[in-house]
Structure formats: structure tokens, C-alpha cells
Symmetry: C2
Subunit: 237 residues, 2 copies
């Protein structure tokens, strides 16, 4: 899975920040696994693919490295992150700490409009689960994460929202690497239960369900170390 094989939507309406656009597209590609962990992301290739100079490509990669989706090594370049089991545990520990609180905050701010948005979100999620094919699989992964991001946006704290964006994205990487069933969709019904609690303003229940949900996702992981922790990340790619 080389980055050169990827195709990206033309870098559309472009008077605003192009580095940000590129970052978003690369993040999507990483999150829904079109780019495997360890893949080299060279400035030149990224620049060529998006038709910008290395300067801009580099800025986009720097952003992704702040989010922990990309690891950069001096004089060697950028690679799609390859989280270790320890990092994986930390990602989920962070989510266990933050997301129940987000659920509580969101429960107190739900409006009918929010409910509609959630229903649409869960519908889409269900549709992708029913479909077959790798494309549906990718969309399903994305939709599953989007549920959590929607929740974070309802909670109304932009700082926590950004933290969650990072954690959800990194979770996708972790699941790609360590997931047993390979898919995180196991949680669709749990998402529905959480929504129900939110709808009823039952913040305690929403919070508890969220905690269990995260535990279930993590329980699907196999975090035993295989080889040495690095070996230069299995030769990178």
C-alpha cells in the first residue's frame, strides 16, 4: 500500500489554506486504512500528488505528526504512525477518562436537531454495515468514528472536541493494527443505546454506557507484543 497508488479528490476550491486541506485528506486516508501504518509519506510525493510544493506538503505532514497520526524522524521523513501496544493502551485510557465526561456534557445539551443528526448518523452506520465490499468497510470505519465526533461536537467544548478528534483517529490506527475482528462495528447497537440515554437526558446512563462501549472496543484488541517493540517499525514499509 503505497501512497503513490492513492487518488485524492482534486484540491478543490482553494483560496484558503491548502496545507489544511491536504492534512484532512491524508488523515481520512489514514483513518479508513487506505494508507497502512508504516507507509512512507515523502514530502515530494505528497507535494506531487496534491500539486503543491514541498513547503506546503511538509506543513501538512507536520500537522499530522502533532496529531500523532504520523511519525517523523529527522532526515528520514514522515511515516504513517505505527502505535505500539503501550501507545494503544494510552489511547484507550485517555478515551476512558474523557469520553464519559463528554457524554455527560452532551446529555445536558441535546436538542431535537441533535437527535435528528444522531439518527441520520446511526442510519448511515447501519447501512454501511449491511453492505459488502472494502469500500463499505472503509465507510463503516469512518462512520463509527464519526458517531463519537458528533457526540464531542454536541458537548460544546472545542478543546475537548479537538482532543477527541485526535483520539478517534488514533484509535482507528490502533484497531487496524491490533483488532481481532478487524472491525469496530461491534458497537453499533451500543451506539444506539447511548443515543437513547442521551435523548432521555439520562446523563449517568449515557456516561456508563460510553465507558462500557470503550471497554468493549479495547477488549477486541490483541495487545500482546509480537516481536521486539520496534525493529525499526518492521522495516517501515
Amino acid at each position: 500500500m503505497n501512497i503513490a497508488d492513492q487518488t485524492f479528490p482534486a484540491v478543490d476550491s482553494a483560496n484558503e489554506d491548502r496545507a489544511q486541506t491536504i492534512r484532512d485528506q491524508l488523515r481520512d486516508a489514514i483513518v479508513d486504512r487506505r494508507l497502512a501504518p508504516g507507509t512512507k509519506l515523502s514530502e515530494g510525493e505528497v507535494g506531487t500528488l496534491f500539486d503543491v510544493s514541498r513547503t506546503v506538503a511538509r506543513a501538512a505532514l507536520q500537522m499530522l505528526s502533532f496529531e500523532g497520526l504520523v511519525r517523523t524522524e529527522r532526515n528520514r521523513g514522515a511515516f504513517v504512525a505505527n502505535p505500539s501496544p503501550e501507545e494503544a493502551r494510552q489511547v484507550f485510557a485517555s478515551r476512558r477518562l474523557i469520553e464519559p465526561g463528554i457524554a455527560i456534557a452532551a446529555a445536558g445539551r441535546m436538542t431535537p436537531a441533535h437527535v435528528v443528526a444522531f439518527k441520520a448518523q446511526l442510519d448511515e452506520e447501519g447501512r454501511f454495515i449491511a453492505e459488502r465490499g472494502p469500500n463499505a468497510r472503509r465507510s463503516e470505519i469512518k462512520a463509527s468514528g464519526d458517531f463519537h465526533l458528533l457526540l464531542a461536537s454536541v458537548a460544546g467544548n472545542t478543546i475537548l472536541q479537538r482532543f477527541m478528534e485526535e483520539l478517534v483517529a488514533r484509535s482507528s490506527l490502533v484497531i487496524a493494527l491490533y483488532g481481532r475482528s478487524g472491525i469496530s462495528s461491534c458497537g453499533h447497537s451500543e451506539h444506539m443505546n447511548i443515543l437513547e440515554a442521551l435523548e432521555n437526558g439520562n446523563s449517568e446512563r449515557a456516561s456508563a454506557l460510553m465507558l462500557h462501549h470503550i471497554d468493549h472496543i479495547e477488549a477486541d484488541l490483541d495487545l500482546r507484543v509480537r516481536s521486539g517493540p520496534a525493529l525499526r517499525q518492521a522495516l517501515e514499509s
Copy 2:
């Protein structure tokens, strides 16, 4: 308070990442208020001051903008962030959610070495409080934040640690803007109480004390909006 008036330690042993070094120095300057909120940070000036090209200065400013310490506007440049009351509330809401959990994690991982480090930290804090003069004031602000960062490092989760670094830094900005007593040192005895709970492995108490501590800091703020929310950030600087 112009950036050109600032002096920075020579950009020392420098084969490794210079942008990162510059970011750290600028962050320190922002956190201990040598650079006031709203101050313009032009790429050229930063570059000249640290004796690097605009390319590197720009990268450092981009990093700070990710941390929320600097706000960048397209074609206008970078400014020390000027958090609104709403942002201020979000910073503290985030800390209330995260830091009690960090305290619990840290309580379970305290070693005698950690205790020594905390004691040294609190000593330093106390010394700066006793001293007079703006330099001691600055050191005091930094030391107060460092207590929280030390706690985060003991907790052993690098992701949460980074989140806390961001939140502590932004808190300093918020206190600079909205603090009544101007100083956050009010919490020195609270820090000592928290350490005591940590030392005894009393995680529940440490967590509760931390929550109260954050509440006390926030209670010292005056978050009433003064004028319109922006007016282009009071003409920037």
C-alpha cells in the same frame, strides 16, 4: 510589550530540531507573560531574533498555533492568543474533566523518587512566592504550572501529558487576562495537600483535592465580558 524587546538564550547546541527549540522558548515567554496576549509575532522578527530563516520561524509559530497559544490569521500573521471568556471556561472545563483522573493514575504510580521530585518542586514554588520582584513572579507562575505537569508525567500517559501541557499553558494565558489577584499562587498549600494525598496513595482524596484546586483557580477569574467579544482583539497590540 513587543517581541523585539525580548531576549532569548542563544539557540544553543543545535544539530537537532531548531524549530522545536524556538517553539519552547516562545512558549516559555508566553506562559510567564513576557509576551502579552495579542502581541504580534512576525515571522521575520522571530527569525532574526533566533537567527534562523523565516521557514524555521514559521514552523515554530505553526506548532504554537496547534497548541492554542498563538492564533494565526491568513495573510496577517501570528499573534499571542487572546482567549475569550468562553475559551477560558472551556480550558477549565477540560481540566476539571482530565486532571482528577490524572491524579488518580499518579497516585497509583508514586515512587519515593517521585515524592522527592515533588518536594523539590514545591520547595522551589515556595521560594519564588517568598521572593519579590517581577522575575520571581514569573518564576512562580512557571513553577505553579510545573507542579501540574510533574503530576501528569507521573501519571505515565504521554497523550494525556501532552494534553495537560497544552491546558496548563493556556491556563496561564487565561489567568494573565482574567485573573483578579493576578497570581495563581493561591494554590501553594493546595498543592501540598495534594502531594500528601498522593504520598499516602489516597487516590480518591488526591482526585477530590485536585478538583477543588481547579475550582479555586477558576473562581479567581473574572470572566464577565467587557466589551464586544473581539473588536479585532482590541486592535491586536
